[in-house]
């Protein structure tokens, strides 16, 4: 039976990983780490979780260790943030290309300098093209559920790709809230033991990740691209099965009061809850506005997103990162949206706001102002950074 508990989201994330009966956790346990691996190390030390906890000397080593463990056929988890994620990134690309089903929780935090430990999506965008499946949770419940779902998807033989579950640093990772935690038997019924299709075994030697000469590299890349494309239906299928078992249903793209909306704001992550409250306020004033939230970032849910926004005249896209592109094009999430619309010959007005950098609060009122501005088609293109002291 699931039980409802009050718990810090990082602790709940660790508990979820424990429920998945993970075999190996490798992590570098200092800033910018969260309580996720700290709590997992306690669970292992106190004998609540039968797993190997390997404290390593850097995030680069953490992911290297995860690669070895996953290639040996073990269910493998790690967690990181911001600078740690950046240091790890070289190995992240190898994990996905070697098709290893590692699961990682990323508490999204800003990249330095100036030194920041606070929330934005710089690390998420920096790792965008790493070949991992990437989902983003809105609240603690979703983080728990996405982690269980992540192992199910990653280890599916039709997928065999690593997955990151993103949660906003501090604004989600350090918040206490009520969460339904399933029990181990329920999770085991959803998530069978991992059976690696191919694994490192001294009795049956294989090579992972050898040199790819120019005569095979393109084919290897195409194969990996196809694998990520083919993952989307499995991701959706695994969410359906999750919903049938646990009663909480998830989709790649979530809509809120968007069906008849003339103006839609597109968001990702926990900030979407604040945006939903702003939409409620504006709806009370009779304004036809709605919210669309992207839960699945890679593979990008183009079809689902177009379906969600196709009726809108004005679209505001929120980016949580400054992408330093020279200022003649929009931020990264907005670029994806514009590309989608252009390819389909659709031409609503698309506006781009950049907000919530390095922990700057984005309030309900901020959202109301952004949506109002978008309703009037008044936001400057290609983007506007809001809440800046001049």
């Amino acid at each position: 039976m699931s039980k409802r508990i009050g718990v810090e989201v990082s602790i709940a994330a660790a508990e979820a990983v424990g429920l998945c009966d993970v075999d190996v956790i490798a992590a570098y346990p200092i800033t910018p780490q969260t309580h996720i691996v700290e709590h997992l190390s306690e669970m292992v030390a106190e004998g609540h979780l039968d797993a190997e906890f390997i404290p390593v000397e850097s995030e680069h080593s953490a992911m290297s260790c995860c690669i070895g463990s996953s290639a040996a056929g073990a269910r493998t988890f790690t967690s990181t943030s911001s600078q740690g994620y950046a240091l790890m990134s070289e190995i992240c690309f190898i994990a996905s290309s070697m098709r290893l089903p590692i699961v990682m929780a990323v508490a999204n935090r800003a990249l330095s300098a100036p030194i920041s430990i606070w929330n934005d999506h710089a690390d998420l965008m920096y790792s965008r093209d790493s070949g991992w499946i990437q989902t983003i949770g809105e609240n603690g419940q979703e983080v728990v559920d996405l982690l269980i779902h992540a192992f199910k998807v990653a280890e599916d033989h039709r997928v065999m790709l690593p997955v990151t579950v993103n949660l906003d640093g501090f604004t989600l990772s350090h918040v206490i809230e009520p969460i339904m935690l399933p029990d181990k038997a329920e999770v085991a019924a959803y998530l069978p033991r991992y059976k690696a299709p191919l694994r490192l075994d001294p009795k049956n030697p294989v090579s992972f990740g050898p040199v790819g000469m120019p005569d095979v590299y393109t084919e290897a890349r195409k194969a990996q691209d196809e694998a990520l494309k083919a993952a989307k239906p499995v991701i959706i299928e695994a969410w359906k099965e999750f919903g049938d078992k646990f009663g909480r249903y998830y989709k790649p793209v979530e809509t809120y009061k968007a069906e008849d909306a003339e103006t839609i704001i597109i968001t990702m992550g926990s900030i979407s809850e604040t945006a939903a409250t702003a939409i409620d306020h504006l709806r009370e004033q009779g304004k036809k506005v709605g919210l669309v939230r992207i839960r699945l970032w890679r593979p990008f849910p183009g079809t689902e997103l177009v379906e969600a926004i196709k009726g809108a005249k004005n679209i505001a896209v929120l980016d949580r990162v400054c992408s330093f592109n020279g200022g003649e094009i929009s931020g990264p999430v907005c670029l994806e949206v514009k590309s989608l619309l252009f390819d389909r010959g659709m031409n609503p007005k698309v506006m781009n706001f950049i907000a919530g950098l390095g922990g700057r609060d984005v309030t309900v009122q901020n959202f109301e102002e952004m949506v109002e501005k978008a309703s009037n088609g008044a936001a400057p293109t290609p983007y506007e950074i809001i809440n800046v002291r001049e």
Binding site: R4, I5, G6, E8, I117, W118, D168, F170, T171, L172, H174, V175, I176, E177, P178, S270, I271, E273, T274, A276, T277, D280, G359, D361, V362, T363, V364
Partner: protein, 182 residues
């Protein structure tokens, strides 16, 4: 929805106060959020922590700007911090002080409805440490009637283990000794 802001100094347990309040509310079947004023933890520096409690799911992640209730764990902060900032009309400020309300108001110029308790003395007498986090929760519940005192039992047991009883005693004594205006 009720919003609460705790003022303390790093190490005094303001964050723990916020967490225990949210956990007690969740224990009672309500919805709640607790979060610190995110930042590097520095012992002795002024810190804040926040709680939201609601009968319905809470759909906002913005900081608490207009609290209904403010709890001040350390009276020396009254000279440094405007603890009434953003306080809603009709809101309450709950202060750890040995001074009578009149004297406190005269000294600090606080305008809101006040509740006072000598939490430092209670904490030292019951727990032998001047940490007022659980003690001030007794004052919070007395002044607001937000939750039954017993709702703190399970969260305090879970958090403090062998010293849970002493914390509960301090909390209960504060509940009994808190003076609420009006």
């Amino acid at each position: 929805m009720v919003e609460i802001r705790f003022h303390g100094r790093g190490g005094q347990g303001a964050v723990t106060s916020a967490e225990l309040t949210a956990l007690a509310a969740i224990e009672e079947g309500k919805y709640a959020q607790a979060f610190p004023s995110f930042g590097p933890e520095r012992r002795g520096a002024p810190v804040m922590a926040f709680v939201r409690i609601s009968e319905n799911p809470i759909r906002t992640r913005e900081k608490v700007y207009e609290p209904d209730i403010v709890v001040v764990l350390d009276p020396t902060l009254l000279k440094l911090v405007n603890v009434e900032a953003g306080l809603k009309q009709g809101g309450t400020v709950i202060v750890n002080t040995h001074k009578p309300v009149d004297e406190l108001r005269k000294e600090t110029g606080l305008k809101a409805k006040l509740a006072t308790v000598d939490a430092s003395t209670i904490a030292v007498e019951t727990m032998r440490v001047p940490i007022t986090n659980t003690t001030m929760l007794g004052a919070l519940l007395k002044a607001t009637g937000l939750l039954p005192l017993q709702s703190l039992r399970a969260p305090i047991d879970h958090r403090f283990g062998p010293i849970a009883d002493k914390n509960m005693t301090a909390c209960t004594r504060a509940f009994e000794e808190t003076k609420v205006e009006g």
